[in-house]
């Protein structure tokens, strides 16, 4: 816990973000930081992120993960982030607990796929796809710390911009994350 993400003096902090089984709401919340984002841009460079459209990931100081782990591709992306990022953060309810996508865990996978691809409404070409390009689903959706080590957890659906700011401050300074009562929310 509490690894320090600060780069050598004079360099910017390299940040990568990814959305696994999530809704991009947490990414939106990052953009929601108003003028503070300018302050942030002063200090950070973005690597792979849906915000910048860079697809391959290089070594980074900080990785922010939104969303839980639902399929094989999520696992691969998450592992790549863990390999490349000095500090990895679970951002938002889905990354922290599995969240809304994990509500499918109460239904057997066979029924989930059946509903989506075989007997669901309005299907043109029913049948469970077998295309190797498509990532296979895990039998359950898991929070990301069940797959890789996570350095910081920031709950919230989505976490408020204030909470994200507290997180970034903690990460950049290498301290423990302290949230105020108003910042700590699970919903």
């Amino acid at each position: 816990m509490n690894m320090r993400a600060e780069p050598p003096v004079g360099q910017k902090v390299r940040v990568a973000t990814a959305s696994l089984a999530g809704c991009f709401g947490c990414h939106m919340s990052v953009l929601d930081m108003d003028e503070r984002i300018l302050d942030l841009v002063e200090r950070v460079d973005f690597d792979r992120t849906p915000l910048t459209d860079i697809k391959t990931l290089g070594p980074c100081d900080l990785g922010l993960i939104e969303g839980g782990v639902a399929n094989a591709e999520n696992v691969e992306v998450l592992r790549e982030f863990r390999r490349q990022c000095k500090v990895l953060v679970a951002v938002g309810a889905c990354a922290v607990t599995g969240g809304i996508p994990a509500m499918r865990n109460s239904v057997p996978l066979a029924e989930v796929l059946d509903e989506a691809f075989v007997h669901g409404m309005g299907l043109v070409n029913p049948g469970i796809p077998d295309d190797p390009e498509l990532p296979l689903l895990l039998s359950q959706v898991h929070p990301i710390h069940e797959v890789v080590r996570v350095d910081y957890f920031l709950p919230g659906c989505p976490p408020s911009a204030d909470a994200i700011w507290s997180l970034l401050t903690a990460v950049l300074e290498g301290g423990a994350l302290h949230l105020t009562w108003a910042q700590l929310r699970y919903d």
Binding site: D130, L136, Q140, R149
Partner: protein, 620 residues
């Protein structure tokens, strides 16, 4: 009492037609009455005859006893030996203590499953037989052991399993099975103060009659007798508290309970005491009744010892005939005579927690065995809120001899803080497993030498909840001030993998947690999952930190002694035998909580894929 709890003539999967259910119910109602506290005993009676508790019986019990259906379902679901759906007509439960495992119970289970064409946990389609594992049945010195329709089977081996399979296939009633299958030996290898004298003279009671309760209490106090069930509370103090506890109708409604739940894995000495020294145990209970002024007594007998029921009922009947139980006990024989007291046997139904005294009392009241909060303590508010003394079998036996011979006699052995002797149940890797009575203060090494243990790697003192010792500690003393023990003494030689022990204990505690409090209910399961992960070679360093942390949370925050001690074995082995964990760790410090590739198996099958992309490597 025997109508309900006695060995029913018909048992094991009788057809549950309404008339028959009614007949069994009438029988148990006649024997036990209609108090709400009798519900568990009625359920046990139904289970014994029909191999389950039929729904119609539940409806009738709701009418007769005024309990709710939910309360009955809750109890059936709590006790391992009660079921809502039929078990096989022959319901065989293989004892699964670590000592049974060391003696090869798993192979025997497989053999029996194969021979009978049945899977563990699922009754055979024809309803003839069901097989499953159960927690330690208290036959560790003569295992591998099992229960068939509640009766103890000992010394199982491949030949015996073949015979059992044939008897089941031939539908041979248990009464016609070879008697030797059910033979239980006492295996007393060393006798001391208590076991050396088998004779019953009722001299303790004579002393009570002649000298009165206070004099006997003073003698027990002088002896420094401490409870033999584990906690080591001073017996005289407990009796005094109960004696002085106010009760609504004077002394009349106080209660004496003998704790014969003996559920701690590796303990079996109470079984021997009840087999060979039952009179002394009942004498001790009667003494306690005379001292505290109790009219009602219970022997809470673990379900696994049901085979002792007929014998114990016979002893009680004889004692009643002798005027040693009933009304006016010792009338005219002195100031301490002339009181009323009787003893009823209540059966347990497969729940280790019911050995904890307040859970035991809940169970006596017919409920799930959930530990009560303390205070109040049983001595002031116990069975049906009456002042109640709960003591271990061995404690009552000791009290009887102390009343006879005096406190100084007892003090002649043992240490200052641990007077007298301790009866040990020795099992595991040794030449002579069985019962050893040693003076308190005896070093572990002496017991090992005595029982013929060689090349010993570890001893587990005081059961799964106890302490794991390394050879460096074998000089330590069995005594409350060093190694307190309820008597379980399990020996492991160097051929053993102690992680097998840890897995066995973790499984035991997860299964036996009553579920009342969070740390034990959830923590016990988390510990089991982590230990299994270690055993599967899937754990990283982080998991060991988590194990330690969860174990501490259980120890510090649980509601009762079960949770407080349930992870001792984990903490002990992490400290003293770290290699059993370390040798199996993955390279990476942090590993997934689940098997990633296995988690894709279902999707692979549904999508008919097996390409490289359809798999995930265990390591990143």
């Amino acid at each position: 009492m025997s109508g309900a709890s006695g060995l029913a003539a018909e048992h094991g999967g009788a057809h549950a037609d309404p008339a028959r259910i009614e007949r069994v119910l009438r029988g148990s109602l006649a024997a036990l009455g209609r108090g709400p506290d009798t519900v568990l005993q009625h359920l046990i009676a139904q289970q014994q005859v029909f191999s389950h508790v039929p729904d119609a019986a539940i409806g009738r019990l709701v009418e007769e006893l005024g309990v709710t259906r939910a309360q009955i379902l809750a109890a059936v679901d709590f006790y391992a030996f009660l079921h809502l759906t039929p078990r096989g007509r022959f319901d065989i439960l293989v004892s699964d203590n670590i000592t049974d495992r060391m003696l090869g119970n798993a192979a025997l289970m497989t053999q029996l499953c194969d021979a009978l064409g049945v899977r563990a946990g699922e009754p055979r389609a024809d309803g003839r037989v069901s097989l499953d594992y159960t927690s330690c049945t208290g036959m560790c010195d003569q295992g591998p052991a099992a229960l068939v329709n509640g009766l103890a089977l000992t010394r199982l081996d491949a030949a015996r399993i073949r015979e059992i399979a044939a008897l089941v296939e031939a539908d041979t009633p248990l009464a016609h099975w070879p008697k030797r299958f059910f033979a239980v030996s006492n295996n007393v290898h060393r006798s001391g103060l208590l076991l050396g004298d088998l004779e019953t003279r009722e001299a303790g009671l004579a002393a009570l009659f002649a000298r009165g309760g206070p004099a006997v209490l003073a003698e027990v106090e002088r002896a420094g007798l401490r409870g033999r069930g584990g906690a080591g509370f001073t017996t005289a103090l407990k009796w005094r508290f109960c004696r002085e506890a106010p009760s609504e109708n004077g002394h009349a409604d106080k209660v004496i309970v003998c704790n014969a739940d003996e559920g701690e894995p590796g303990t079996f000495k109470d079984r021997v005491l009840l087999s060979a020294y039952a009179d002394l145990v009942f004498e001790g209970m009667t003494l306690a009744a005379g001292v505290v002024g109790a009219k009602t007594g219970f022997l809470y007998l673990r379900g696994e010892y049901r085979y002792l029921l007929d014998h114990l009922e016979a002893v009680l009947a004889r004692r009643r005939a002798q005027g040693l139980l009933g009304t006016g006990i010792g009338a005219g024989e002195g100031p301490g005579g002339g009181f009323d007291f009787d003893i009823h046997i209540h059966l347990g139904a497969g729940a280790y927690i019911c050995g904890e005294e307040s859970a035991l009392i809940e169970s006596l009241e017919g409920k799930r065995g959930i530990t009560r909060k303390r205070p109040p303590f049983p001595v002031t508010e116990g069975y049906l809120d009456r002042p109640t003394v709960v003591n271990n079998v061995e404690t009552f036996l000791g009290a009887a001899r102390i009343a006879e011979h005096g406190g100084y006699w007892f003090r002649s052995e043992g240490t200052d803080r641990s007077a007298g002797s301790k009866i040990l149940s020795v099992s595991g890797d040794c030449a002579r497993p069985g019962i050893y009575e040693v003076p308190f203060g005896t070093p572990v090494a002496d017991v090992l030498a005595d029982c013929g243990a060689e090349d010993t790697q570890s001893v587990q003192v005081s059961g799964a909840a106890g302490v794991t010792l390394t050879p460096d500690e074998f000089h330590r003393l069995l005594a409350f001030e060093d190694l307190p023990t309820a008597g379980s003494f399990m020996v492991f030689d160097h051929s053993r993998d102690l992680l097998d022990m840890v897995r066995n204990f973790a499984g035991f505690f997860a299964h036996e947690s009553c579920g009342f409090c969070t740390p034990c209910r959830v923590g016990g399961r988390l510990v089991l999952d982590l230990v299994d992960k270690v055993a599967a070679g899937a754990a990283g360093r982080h998991d060991l930190d988590e194990l330690r942390d969860i174990a501490q949370v259980m120890r510090r925050a649980s509601h009762c002694g079960l949770g407080h001690t349930a992870a001792n074995h984990v903490l002990n082995t992490l400290d003293k035998f770290p290699h059993i964990y370390r040798d199996r760790l993955r390279m990476s410090d942090y590993t997934p909580s689940f098997d990633l590739d296995a988690a894709l198996a279902e999707a692979r099958a549904l999508a008919h894929r097996d390409d490289a992309e359809a798999h995930l490597a265990a390591d990143a």
